[in-house]
Symmetry: C3
Subunit: 155 residues, 3 copies
Protein backbone atom coordinates (compact mmCIF):
# COMPACT_ATOMS: atom_id res chain seq x y z
CA UNK A 1 0.00 0.00 0.00
CA UNK A 2 1.24 3.51 -0.79
CA UNK A 3 2.13 5.95 2.00
CA UNK A 4 -0.99 7.93 1.20
CA UNK A 5 -3.03 4.74 1.23
CA UNK A 6 -1.76 3.97 4.72
CA UNK A 7 -2.54 7.53 5.89
CA UNK A 8 -6.08 7.25 4.58
CA UNK A 9 -6.64 3.87 6.22
CA UNK A 10 -5.43 5.32 9.52
CA UNK A 11 -7.68 8.36 9.14
CA UNK A 12 -10.67 6.06 8.70
CA UNK A 13 -9.67 4.07 11.78
CA UNK A 14 -9.11 7.22 13.79
CA UNK A 15 -12.55 8.49 12.85
CA UNK A 16 -14.11 5.26 14.11
CA UNK A 17 -12.11 5.44 17.35
CA UNK A 18 -13.19 9.03 18.00
CA UNK A 19 -16.82 8.02 17.40
CA UNK A 20 -16.36 5.22 19.94
CA UNK A 21 -15.29 7.72 22.59
CA UNK A 22 -18.19 10.02 21.74
CA UNK A 23 -20.78 7.21 21.70
CA UNK A 24 -19.73 6.43 25.27
CA UNK A 25 -20.56 9.95 26.44
CA UNK A 26 -23.81 10.13 24.51
CA UNK A 27 -24.86 6.77 25.92
CA UNK A 28 -24.06 7.62 29.53
CA UNK A 29 -25.90 10.94 29.42
CA UNK A 30 -28.97 9.27 27.95
CA UNK A 31 -28.79 6.26 30.34
CA UNK A 32 -28.35 3.81 27.46
CA UNK A 33 -26.16 1.61 29.63
CA UNK A 34 -26.79 -1.62 27.72
CA UNK A 35 -25.48 0.13 24.62
CA UNK A 36 -22.60 1.76 26.47
CA UNK A 37 -21.05 -1.47 27.71
CA UNK A 38 -21.01 -2.87 24.16
CA UNK A 39 -18.39 -0.23 23.37
CA UNK A 40 -16.00 -2.15 25.63
CA UNK A 41 -14.33 -5.54 25.23
CA UNK A 42 -15.73 -8.43 27.28
CA UNK A 43 -12.57 -8.43 29.44
CA UNK A 44 -12.26 -4.66 29.74
CA UNK A 45 -10.65 -3.00 32.77
CA UNK A 46 -12.24 0.34 33.64
CA UNK A 47 -10.64 2.32 36.44
CA UNK A 48 -12.59 5.41 37.49
CA UNK A 49 -10.54 5.94 40.66
CA UNK A 50 -9.67 4.42 44.03
CA UNK A 51 -13.09 5.48 45.33
CA UNK A 52 -14.67 2.85 43.05
CA UNK A 53 -11.80 0.53 42.22
CA UNK A 54 -11.10 -1.00 38.82
CA UNK A 55 -14.05 -2.75 37.23
CA UNK A 56 -13.04 -5.92 35.39
CA UNK A 57 -15.32 -7.21 32.59
CA UNK A 58 -18.22 -5.80 30.65
CA UNK A 59 -20.72 -7.42 33.02
CA UNK A 60 -19.25 -5.67 36.06
CA UNK A 61 -19.19 -2.41 34.17
CA UNK A 62 -22.93 -2.78 33.57
CA UNK A 63 -23.41 -3.22 37.32
CA UNK A 64 -21.42 -0.05 37.99
CA UNK A 65 -23.71 1.99 35.74
CA UNK A 66 -26.71 0.67 37.63
CA UNK A 67 -25.18 2.16 40.75
CA UNK A 68 -24.32 5.46 39.03
CA UNK A 69 -27.91 5.85 37.87
CA UNK A 70 -28.98 5.91 41.49
CA UNK A 71 -26.53 8.68 42.27
CA UNK A 72 -27.33 11.35 39.71
CA UNK A 73 -30.55 12.67 38.23
CA UNK A 74 -28.70 13.94 35.14
CA UNK A 75 -25.19 14.06 33.68
CA UNK A 76 -23.55 15.85 30.77
CA UNK A 77 -20.17 14.66 29.49
CA UNK A 78 -18.22 16.77 27.00
CA UNK A 79 -15.20 15.34 25.20
CA UNK A 80 -12.42 17.53 23.82
CA UNK A 81 -8.86 17.30 22.56
CA UNK A 82 -9.16 13.65 21.47
CA UNK A 83 -5.62 12.41 20.69
CA UNK A 84 -5.16 8.98 19.09
CA UNK A 85 -1.77 7.23 18.89
CA UNK A 86 -1.59 3.96 16.98
CA UNK A 87 0.54 1.29 18.64
CA UNK A 88 0.04 -1.04 15.68
CA UNK A 89 -2.63 -1.53 13.03
CA UNK A 90 -5.11 -2.99 15.55
CA UNK A 91 -4.28 -1.16 18.78
CA UNK A 92 -4.26 2.49 19.73
CA UNK A 93 -3.89 4.67 22.82
CA UNK A 94 -6.39 7.49 23.23
CA UNK A 95 -6.32 10.54 25.47
CA UNK A 96 -9.58 12.50 25.72
CA UNK A 97 -10.16 15.60 27.81
CA UNK A 98 -13.57 15.58 29.43
CA UNK A 99 -15.70 18.07 31.31
CA UNK A 100 -18.43 16.28 33.25
CA UNK A 101 -21.40 18.02 34.83
CA UNK A 102 -23.65 16.03 37.16
CA UNK A 103 -26.87 16.80 38.96
CA UNK A 104 -27.78 15.15 42.23
CA UNK A 105 -31.25 14.70 43.67
CA UNK A 106 -30.43 17.32 46.34
CA UNK A 107 -29.71 19.91 43.63
CA UNK A 108 -25.93 19.94 43.96
CA UNK A 109 -24.08 19.86 40.60
CA UNK A 110 -20.69 18.15 41.02
CA UNK A 111 -18.23 18.77 38.19
CA UNK A 112 -15.08 16.96 37.14
CA UNK A 113 -12.36 18.03 34.69
CA UNK A 114 -9.79 15.50 33.48
CA UNK A 115 -8.71 12.97 30.89
CA UNK A 116 -9.74 9.50 29.86
CA UNK A 117 -6.72 7.35 29.05
CA UNK A 118 -7.95 4.50 26.85
CA UNK A 119 -6.49 1.54 25.04
CA UNK A 120 -8.67 0.54 22.11
CA UNK A 121 -8.47 -2.61 20.05
CA UNK A 122 -9.86 -3.61 16.67
CA UNK A 123 -12.21 -6.61 16.94
CA UNK A 124 -14.07 -8.22 14.03
CA UNK A 125 -17.15 -6.15 14.98
CA UNK A 126 -15.19 -2.88 15.18
CA UNK A 127 -13.02 -0.84 17.57
CA UNK A 128 -13.68 -1.41 21.28
CA UNK A 129 -12.27 0.03 24.53
CA UNK A 130 -10.20 -2.57 26.38
CA UNK A 131 -8.67 -0.32 29.07
CA UNK A 132 -9.86 2.97 30.47
CA UNK A 133 -8.41 5.01 33.29
CA UNK A 134 -9.81 8.34 34.36
CA UNK A 135 -7.27 10.89 35.61
CA UNK A 136 -8.51 14.07 37.19
CA UNK A 137 -7.30 17.65 36.85
CA UNK A 138 -9.93 19.25 39.07
CA UNK A 139 -13.25 18.75 40.83
CA UNK A 140 -16.06 20.82 42.33
CA UNK A 141 -18.52 19.42 44.88
CA UNK A 142 -17.06 15.98 44.28
CA UNK A 143 -16.31 13.71 47.23
CA UNK A 144 -14.95 10.52 45.75
CA UNK A 145 -11.22 9.84 45.65
CA UNK A 146 -9.87 10.01 42.09
CA UNK A 147 -6.58 9.42 40.27
CA UNK A 148 -4.70 12.70 39.88
CA UNK A 149 -3.74 13.44 36.26
CA UNK A 150 -0.18 14.64 36.70
CA UNK A 151 1.08 11.95 39.05
CA UNK A 152 -0.89 9.05 37.59
CA UNK A 153 1.05 6.03 36.39
CA UNK A 154 0.41 4.35 33.03
CA UNK A 155 -2.24 1.67 32.81
CA UNK B 1 -16.39 2.70 -6.37
CA UNK B 2 -14.36 0.51 -4.04
CA UNK B 3 -15.31 0.11 -0.38
CA UNK B 4 -12.36 2.26 0.60
CA UNK B 5 -13.39 4.86 -1.97
CA UNK B 6 -16.84 5.02 -0.39
CA UNK B 7 -15.32 5.34 3.11
CA UNK B 8 -13.14 8.22 1.96
CA UNK B 9 -16.03 10.02 0.29
CA UNK B 10 -18.03 9.68 3.50
CA UNK B 11 -15.12 10.96 5.58
CA UNK B 12 -14.95 14.08 3.41
CA UNK B 13 -18.70 14.61 3.76
CA UNK B 14 -18.54 14.07 7.50
CA UNK B 15 -15.77 16.63 7.82
CA UNK B 16 -17.91 19.20 5.99
CA UNK B 17 -20.91 18.41 8.19
CA UNK B 18 -18.88 18.82 11.37
CA UNK B 19 -17.60 22.17 10.09
CA UNK B 20 -21.21 23.21 9.47
CA UNK B 21 -22.08 22.55 13.11
CA UNK B 22 -18.99 24.43 14.29
CA UNK B 23 -19.56 27.42 11.97
CA UNK B 24 -22.96 27.82 13.59
CA UNK B 25 -21.44 28.17 17.06
CA UNK B 26 -18.66 30.48 15.89
CA UNK B 27 -21.19 32.65 14.08
CA UNK B 28 -23.60 32.93 16.99
CA UNK B 29 -20.87 33.85 19.48
CA UNK B 30 -19.57 36.56 17.15
CA UNK B 31 -23.08 37.85 16.28
CA UNK B 32 -22.62 37.03 12.59
CA UNK B 33 -26.31 36.22 12.28
CA UNK B 34 -26.57 36.88 8.54
CA UNK B 35 -23.87 34.26 8.04
CA UNK B 36 -25.39 31.87 10.57
CA UNK B 37 -28.75 31.59 8.85
CA UNK B 38 -27.04 30.68 5.55
CA UNK B 39 -25.99 27.42 7.24
CA UNK B 40 -29.67 26.39 7.20
CA UNK B 41 -32.00 25.48 4.34
CA UNK B 42 -34.57 28.09 3.29
CA UNK B 43 -37.35 25.90 4.72
CA UNK B 44 -35.52 24.89 7.89
CA UNK B 45 -37.35 24.04 11.11
CA UNK B 46 -35.42 25.06 14.23
CA UNK B 47 -36.92 24.08 17.55
CA UNK B 48 -35.11 25.55 20.57
CA UNK B 49 -37.86 24.60 23.01
CA UNK B 50 -41.49 25.25 23.94
CA UNK B 51 -40.43 28.58 25.44
CA UNK B 52 -39.71 29.86 21.92
CA UNK B 53 -41.60 27.46 19.69
CA UNK B 54 -40.36 26.02 16.42
CA UNK B 55 -39.05 28.58 13.95
CA UNK B 56 -39.97 27.74 10.35
CA UNK B 57 -37.81 29.21 7.53
CA UNK B 58 -34.47 30.93 7.35
CA UNK B 59 -36.09 34.36 7.45
CA UNK B 60 -37.86 33.63 10.75
CA UNK B 61 -34.63 32.23 12.15
CA UNK B 62 -32.93 35.54 11.35
CA UNK B 63 -35.66 37.33 13.31
CA UNK B 64 -35.11 35.02 16.27
CA UNK B 65 -31.43 35.93 16.43
CA UNK B 66 -32.34 39.60 16.44
CA UNK B 67 -34.31 38.91 19.59
CA UNK B 68 -31.52 36.83 21.15
CA UNK B 69 -29.05 39.64 20.60
CA UNK B 70 -31.17 41.80 22.83
CA UNK B 71 -31.11 39.22 25.61
CA UNK B 72 -27.40 38.50 26.12
CA UNK B 73 -24.30 40.67 26.12
CA UNK B 74 -22.09 37.65 25.28
CA UNK B 75 -22.40 33.94 24.58
CA UNK B 76 -19.93 31.05 24.25
CA UNK B 77 -21.05 27.79 22.65
CA UNK B 78 -18.84 24.72 22.85
CA UNK B 79 -19.57 21.66 20.73
CA UNK B 80 -18.42 18.18 21.69
CA UNK B 81 -19.08 14.54 20.84
CA UNK B 82 -20.29 15.26 17.28
CA UNK B 83 -21.86 12.03 15.96
CA UNK B 84 -22.87 11.83 12.29
CA UNK B 85 -25.09 9.04 10.91
CA UNK B 86 -25.69 8.95 7.17
CA UNK B 87 -29.26 8.14 6.16
CA UNK B 88 -28.28 8.13 2.49
CA UNK B 89 -25.62 9.82 0.37
CA UNK B 90 -27.28 13.24 0.69
CA UNK B 91 -28.87 13.16 4.16
CA UNK B 92 -27.44 12.65 7.62
CA UNK B 93 -28.53 12.85 11.25
CA UNK B 94 -26.19 14.66 13.63
CA UNK B 95 -26.06 14.65 17.40
CA UNK B 96 -23.81 17.30 18.99
CA UNK B 97 -23.28 17.86 22.69
CA UNK B 98 -23.09 21.54 23.58
CA UNK B 99 -22.15 23.55 26.62
CA UNK B 100 -23.47 27.09 26.30
CA UNK B 101 -22.43 29.97 28.54
CA UNK B 102 -24.35 33.24 28.34
CA UNK B 103 -23.90 36.63 29.95
CA UNK B 104 -26.84 38.91 30.63
CA UNK B 105 -26.75 42.66 31.05
CA UNK B 106 -27.46 42.23 34.79
CA UNK B 107 -24.30 40.09 35.17
CA UNK B 108 -26.04 36.72 35.54
CA UNK B 109 -24.42 33.94 33.46
CA UNK B 110 -27.06 31.34 32.49
CA UNK B 111 -25.66 28.00 31.33
CA UNK B 112 -27.19 25.17 29.35
CA UNK B 113 -25.92 21.62 28.77
CA UNK B 114 -27.52 19.43 26.13
CA UNK B 115 -27.57 18.12 22.59
CA UNK B 116 -28.43 19.49 19.18
CA UNK B 117 -30.28 16.92 17.10
CA UNK B 118 -29.88 17.96 13.46
CA UNK B 119 -30.89 16.67 10.07
CA UNK B 120 -28.51 17.91 7.40
CA UNK B 121 -28.94 17.74 3.65
CA UNK B 122 -26.56 18.12 0.72
CA UNK B 123 -27.55 21.02 -1.53
CA UNK B 124 -25.66 22.13 -4.68
CA UNK B 125 -23.91 24.80 -2.55
CA UNK B 126 -22.94 22.35 0.22
CA UNK B 127 -24.34 20.71 3.36
CA UNK B 128 -27.05 22.66 5.18
CA UNK B 129 -29.09 22.13 8.36
CA UNK B 130 -32.74 21.42 7.52
CA UNK B 131 -33.96 20.41 11.00
CA UNK B 132 -32.58 21.24 14.43
CA UNK B 133 -33.99 20.39 17.82
CA UNK B 134 -32.29 21.31 21.05
CA UNK B 135 -32.72 18.83 23.91
CA UNK B 136 -31.51 19.80 27.34
CA UNK B 137 -29.67 17.77 30.00
CA UNK B 138 -29.29 20.58 32.53
CA UNK B 139 -29.52 24.33 33.10
CA UNK B 140 -28.28 26.94 35.56
CA UNK B 141 -29.94 30.34 35.94
CA UNK B 142 -32.07 29.57 32.93
CA UNK B 143 -35.79 30.38 32.97
CA UNK B 144 -37.11 29.33 29.58
CA UNK B 145 -38.90 26.02 29.13
CA UNK B 146 -36.80 23.57 27.11
CA UNK B 147 -37.15 20.08 25.65
CA UNK B 148 -35.73 17.51 28.05
CA UNK B 149 -33.10 15.24 26.45
CA UNK B 150 -34.12 11.87 27.82
CA UNK B 151 -37.84 12.08 27.18
CA UNK B 152 -37.71 14.01 23.94
CA UNK B 153 -39.37 12.45 20.93
CA UNK B 154 -37.75 12.33 17.49
CA UNK B 155 -38.14 15.30 15.16
CA UNK C 1 -3.81 14.98 -8.70
CA UNK C 2 -7.54 14.38 -8.95
CA UNK C 3 -10.01 16.59 -7.06
CA UNK C 4 -10.67 13.74 -4.66
CA UNK C 5 -6.92 13.27 -4.22
CA UNK C 6 -6.60 16.92 -3.25
CA UNK C 7 -9.51 16.63 -0.81
CA UNK C 8 -7.89 13.62 0.84
CA UNK C 9 -4.53 15.32 1.13
CA UNK C 10 -6.21 18.29 2.77
CA UNK C 11 -8.13 16.03 5.16
CA UNK C 12 -4.86 14.46 6.29
CA UNK C 13 -3.30 17.91 6.79
CA UNK C 14 -6.36 19.12 8.67
CA UNK C 15 -6.20 16.12 10.97
CA UNK C 16 -2.57 16.91 11.79
CA UNK C 17 -3.40 20.57 12.43
CA UNK C 18 -6.24 19.67 14.78
CA UNK C 19 -3.91 17.33 16.67
CA UNK C 20 -1.43 20.21 16.98
CA UNK C 21 -4.05 22.36 18.68
CA UNK C 22 -5.03 19.51 20.98
CA UNK C 23 -1.43 18.61 21.88
CA UNK C 24 -1.00 22.18 23.09
CA UNK C 25 -3.87 21.85 25.54
CA UNK C 26 -2.81 18.42 26.75
CA UNK C 27 0.76 19.65 27.25
CA UNK C 28 -0.22 22.78 29.18
CA UNK C 29 -2.55 20.89 31.52
CA UNK C 30 0.16 18.32 32.26
CA UNK C 31 2.92 20.96 32.62
CA UNK C 32 4.91 19.51 29.70
CA UNK C 33 6.12 22.96 28.75
CA UNK C 34 9.27 21.81 26.94
CA UNK C 35 7.03 19.75 24.67
CA UNK C 36 4.45 22.50 24.30
CA UNK C 37 6.85 25.08 22.89
CA UNK C 38 8.00 22.61 20.21
CA UNK C 39 4.50 22.93 18.74
CA UNK C 40 5.38 26.52 17.77
CA UNK C 41 7.82 27.92 15.20
CA UNK C 42 11.08 29.36 16.52
CA UNK C 43 9.91 32.86 15.59
CA UNK C 44 6.34 32.46 16.81
CA UNK C 45 4.27 35.38 18.07
CA UNK C 46 1.87 34.42 20.86
CA UNK C 47 -0.48 37.11 22.10
CA UNK C 48 -2.49 36.14 25.17
CA UNK C 49 -3.69 39.68 25.82
CA UNK C 50 -2.53 43.18 26.80
CA UNK C 51 -2.09 41.98 30.37
CA UNK C 52 0.88 39.86 29.24
CA UNK C 53 1.83 41.38 25.89
CA UNK C 54 2.82 39.45 22.79
CA UNK C 55 5.55 36.88 23.34
CA UNK C 56 7.99 36.72 20.41
CA UNK C 57 9.99 33.49 19.92
CA UNK C 58 9.79 29.98 21.24
CA UNK C 59 12.36 30.76 23.96
CA UNK C 60 10.28 33.62 25.36
CA UNK C 61 7.19 31.45 25.23
CA UNK C 62 9.01 28.89 27.41
CA UNK C 63 9.72 31.66 29.94
CA UNK C 64 6.05 32.63 29.97
CA UNK C 65 5.02 29.10 30.89
CA UNK C 66 7.49 29.14 33.76
CA UNK C 67 5.60 32.12 35.11
CA UNK C 68 2.20 30.53 34.51
CA UNK C 69 3.21 27.46 36.48
CA UNK C 70 3.73 29.71 39.49
CA UNK C 71 0.24 31.11 39.18
CA UNK C 72 -2.00 28.05 39.04
CA UNK C 73 -1.98 24.74 40.86
CA UNK C 74 -4.00 23.09 38.04
CA UNK C 75 -5.53 23.95 34.69
CA UNK C 76 -7.95 22.23 32.31
CA UNK C 77 -8.23 23.44 28.71
CA UNK C 78 -11.04 22.15 26.51
CA UNK C 79 -10.99 22.78 22.76
CA UNK C 80 -14.15 22.82 20.66
CA UNK C 81 -15.39 23.95 17.26
CA UNK C 82 -11.96 23.71 15.58
CA UNK C 83 -12.25 25.41 12.17
CA UNK C 84 -9.35 25.17 9.72
CA UNK C 85 -9.10 27.35 6.58
CA UNK C 86 -6.24 26.68 4.19
CA UNK C 87 -4.57 29.81 2.81
CA UNK C 88 -2.34 27.69 0.57
CA UNK C 89 -0.92 24.17 0.68
CA UNK C 90 1.49 25.05 3.53
CA UNK C 91 -0.40 27.68 5.53
CA UNK C 92 -3.73 27.63 7.31
CA UNK C 93 -5.77 29.79 9.68
CA UNK C 94 -7.35 28.04 12.64
CA UNK C 95 -10.11 29.17 14.98
CA UNK C 96 -10.61 27.06 18.12
CA UNK C 97 -13.13 27.68 20.85
CA UNK C 98 -11.69 27.01 24.29
CA UNK C 99 -13.08 26.70 27.78
CA UNK C 100 -10.29 27.03 30.33
CA UNK C 101 -10.65 26.19 34.00
CA UNK C 102 -7.85 27.16 36.38
CA UNK C 103 -7.22 26.53 40.07
CA UNK C 104 -5.21 28.95 42.17
CA UNK C 105 -3.38 28.17 45.39
CA UNK C 106 -5.99 30.17 47.33
CA UNK C 107 -8.75 27.88 46.00
CA UNK C 108 -10.28 30.32 43.49
CA UNK C 109 -11.06 28.75 40.10
CA UNK C 110 -10.82 31.42 37.37
CA UNK C 111 -12.48 30.50 34.07
CA UNK C 112 -12.09 31.87 30.58
CA UNK C 113 -14.25 31.30 27.47
CA UNK C 114 -12.99 32.38 24.07
CA UNK C 115 -11.20 31.52 20.85
CA UNK C 116 -7.63 30.88 19.80
CA UNK C 117 -6.90 32.45 16.42
CA UNK C 118 -3.88 30.65 15.00
CA UNK C 119 -1.81 30.72 11.86
CA UNK C 120 -0.11 27.39 11.28
CA UNK C 121 2.64 26.57 8.81
CA UNK C 122 3.99 23.33 7.40
CA UNK C 123 7.68 22.85 8.26
CA UNK C 124 9.80 19.83 7.24
CA UNK C 125 9.14 18.35 10.72
CA UNK C 126 5.36 18.92 10.53
CA UNK C 127 2.73 21.60 11.13
CA UNK C 128 3.63 24.28 13.69
CA UNK C 129 1.87 27.32 15.16
CA UNK C 130 3.50 30.55 13.96
CA UNK C 131 0.92 33.05 15.27
CA UNK C 132 -1.59 32.73 18.08
CA UNK C 133 -3.93 35.33 19.46
CA UNK C 134 -6.39 34.64 22.23
CA UNK C 135 -9.69 36.53 22.03
CA UNK C 136 -12.05 36.36 24.96
CA UNK C 137 -15.84 36.00 25.08
CA UNK C 138 -16.17 35.86 28.85
CA UNK C 139 -14.32 35.44 32.15
CA UNK C 140 -15.06 34.53 35.76
CA UNK C 141 -12.72 35.44 38.64
CA UNK C 142 -10.17 36.56 36.07
CA UNK C 143 -8.28 39.81 36.62
CA UNK C 144 -5.94 40.12 33.64
CA UNK C 145 -6.82 42.35 30.70
CA UNK C 146 -7.63 40.30 27.59
CA UNK C 147 -8.46 40.91 23.94
CA UNK C 148 -12.23 40.96 23.43
CA UNK C 149 -13.41 38.53 20.77
CA UNK C 150 -15.90 40.67 18.92
CA UNK C 151 -13.83 43.83 18.53
CA UNK C 152 -10.47 42.16 18.06
CA UNK C 153 -8.60 42.93 14.84
CA UNK C 154 -6.91 40.26 12.71
CA UNK C 155 -3.36 39.19 13.54
Amino acid sequence: MSDEGASIRQLIDKDQIIDLVHEYSYGVDHQLYDEVVKLFTEDCVVDYGPGIGPVRSRARLRDMFGYAEGGFTATSHHNANVLVTFDDADHASVRTAFYAWHKRADGLTPRVWGYYHDIVVRLPEGWRISRRQLRVLGVENWQMEMHPAAGADGL
